[in-house]
């Protein structure tokens, strides 16, 4: 009975999160085109529905009914496996993202956390491990297509993901020093209070009279944001896709639902990265003011609302960067990753560790 209740609650939570993520993906495809067009004096999609708001549905139906082409000479098995390999890791990361306050409810004698699918104590490590698998999808897809552009895109993706995954990990370490835990919930709970306690500002880590000293993680935050843009292969780091050089990079030979899988994976990765950024640096579900406005029973609505606002702000930043910046050249990308981002992240770890060591006692 208890196992059943636990499993049922887990399935319900998984369904809610998956539906939310996939609906957000659909919204993002439209929102990206709309935001880009507003920044470029255009209109974006306007035909399907009023102001084009039904465009994602039309796109989905179109992709679903399109012919599924496997090029001659392609490795059929890997060609079919690659989209799944890139979508599943993107979706699986949401299992440890706390999207609401850290509450517990009793249901038939089972304690359930309703606002996180599962609170494992190595949450952030789990996400890092699985998002790295997503790179395999890209590389294998590029190789299995039997196309030079796809292969070049896949190779670029490999180099880029390795370079920037490192910076993501190093940027996260300083946050882990502050929170002393790998669990996403604990990291978010440590930032409770107000906007001053968020890790970007980082007050409240000192003991005694030193409580006001900010252990600011702004450098780690900037490194994380830039590296996550690179990791999700978004402009200005979209070298694996690089429309003007490589047709569509590793996606060149994909069509129909397989292409849709890659597409969904890209947007799901964007959402995941935004979720991690808001949990790690912007206090997750905490409001920028102390406490909550709503009464205690309903304060979870406020928490989810703030989390949503933060995630969407990040997603807007992705669109904004895309509208503004041109693509980097390959050597610039590598130089930036290894010679700028990596020393910054390493230096930040050292400084944070020293400051925290002297503040704690």
């Amino acid at each position: 009975m208890e196992t059943l209740v636990f499993a049922g609650a887990a399935v319900v939570k998984i369904l809610i999160v998956m539906v939310t993520v996939l609906v957000t993906v659909a919204i993002l495809t439209l929102a990206e085109r709309k935001v880009l067009s507003w920044m470029q004096d255009r209109m974006g999609p306007m035909e399907v529905g009023p102001y084009g708001i039904l465009q994602p549905i039309a796109d989905g139906i179109k992709l679903f009914f399109k012919e599924d082409i496997v090029p001659a000479g392609a490795n059929r098995f890997l060609f079919s496996l690659a989209p799944i390999l890139s979508l599943v890791p993107a979706l699986i990361g949401f299992a440890v993202v706390p999207y609401g306050p850290n509450r517990e409810i009793e249901l038939y004698g089972v304690t359930i956390k309703p606002f996180i699918i599962t609170d494992i104590n190595i949450g952030i490590l789990y996400i890092l491990a699985f998002t790295s698998i997503g790179a395999y999808g890209i590389i294998l897809g590029g190789w299995a297509s039997n196309n030079k552009y796809s292969l070049l895109g896949g190779l670029r993706a490999a180099a880029q993901v390795i370079s920037y995954e490192l910076n993501v990990g190093l940027a996260i370490i300083s946050v882990l020093i502050l929170s002393g835990s790998l669990s996403m919930v604990t990291i978010a709970e440590k930032q409770a209070g107000s906007i001053l306690n968020w890790n970007v500002i980082g007050m409240g880590h000192g003991g005694g009279i030193w409580w006001w000293v900010p252990v600011t993680q702004i450098v780690a935050f900037v490194v994380y944001v830039i590296s996550s843009v690179a990791e999700t292969n978004r402009l200005p780091f979209d070298l694996p896709e690089a429309d003007s050089e490589l047709v569509a990079g590793w996606m060149t030979e994909y069509s129909g639902m397989r292409f849709a899988f890659f597409f969904m994976a890209e947007y799901a990765n964007m959402i995941l990265v935004s979720c991690i950024a808001s949990v790690l640096f912007l206090g997750g579900y905490h409001a920028p003011y102390p406490g909550t406005l709503l009464p205690d029973k309903l304060s979870w609505i406020e928490g989810i609302a703030w989390f949503t606002v933060k995630v969407y702000a990040f997603l807007f930043l992705f669109f904004w960067l895309r509208a503004t910046l041109p693509r980097l050249r390959y050597d610039q990308l590598m130089r930036f990753g290894w010679k700028v981002m990596l020393p910054l992240a390493l230096g930040n770890i050292v400084v944070t560790a020293i400051v925290v060591y002297f503040l704690r006692d």
């Binding site: 935001v35 507003w38 004096d41 255009r42 209109m43 306007m46 904004w320 503004t324």
Partner: protein, 185 residues
């Protein structure tokens, strides 16, 4: 100088300037309503055409319904891309008068230069303002005389009188003797 450059690099100054430019456009467009999209929603709204716009070519008629075309072949000679094919013939019972028995235009080749319209001695050709002639079948663009006349009828509803009625005192080379108007005294 070098310090200022360093500060600019460290704070991503140039990138922030660019991002300010894009967000300004968005705010002006959505919040302040100062900008408008340059997009023209084509099938729903259309551009104003310039007065001298050269669209599809049409054959014209006189007000009594007869063709203006006299089958002189000058348009065919003038055409730089050999669009026009005229098969000229005599009007039965009027040996002095000729007309185009068949008249074809291959609009796939036409470059809308308007030389045929300028070449026509009787103003039988005209350029309309139609341009939405995308077809699924290329042969639909091989127009015959009926289609060209229909184009003219639809775009130029006000027809001219016959030349002899317009200028009764001028002798034209193609005036039928039967229909000569009485000269003004």
């Amino acid at each position: 100088m070098a310090l200022a450059q360093w500060v600019k690099t460290l704070t991503f100054y140039e990138i922030l300037v660019g991002m300010k430019a894009t967000i300004t456009v968005l705010i002006d467009r959505i919040l302040l309503r100062k900008r408008k999209a340059v997009t023209l929603q084509y099938p729903h709204e259309k551009r104003d055409l310039p007065g001298t716009y050269r669209g599809m070519i049409a054959l014209l008629r006189y007000d009594d319904g007869t063709d203006k075309c006299v089958g002189c072949d000058l348009c065919e000679a003038a055409c730089p891309s050999r669009v026009i094919t005229v098969i000229s013939s005599e009007v039965e019972g009027e040996p002095m008068k000729r007309y185009a028995k068949e008249y074809y235009m291959d609009m796939t080749r036409c470059l809308f230069c308007g030389l045929c319209v300028q070449a026509c001695p009787v103003d039988a050709l005209a350029m309309t303002r139609e341009y939405e002639w995308a077809k699924y079948n290329k042969r639909d663009l091989y127009l015959d005389k009926e289609q060209l006349l229909a184009l003219g009828d639809r775009n130029f509803p006000v027809r001219e009188k016959k030349l002899e009625f317009q200028h009764p005192n001028v002798a034209y080379f193609n005036i039928g003797h039967k229909n000569l108007p009485p000269k003004e005294s």
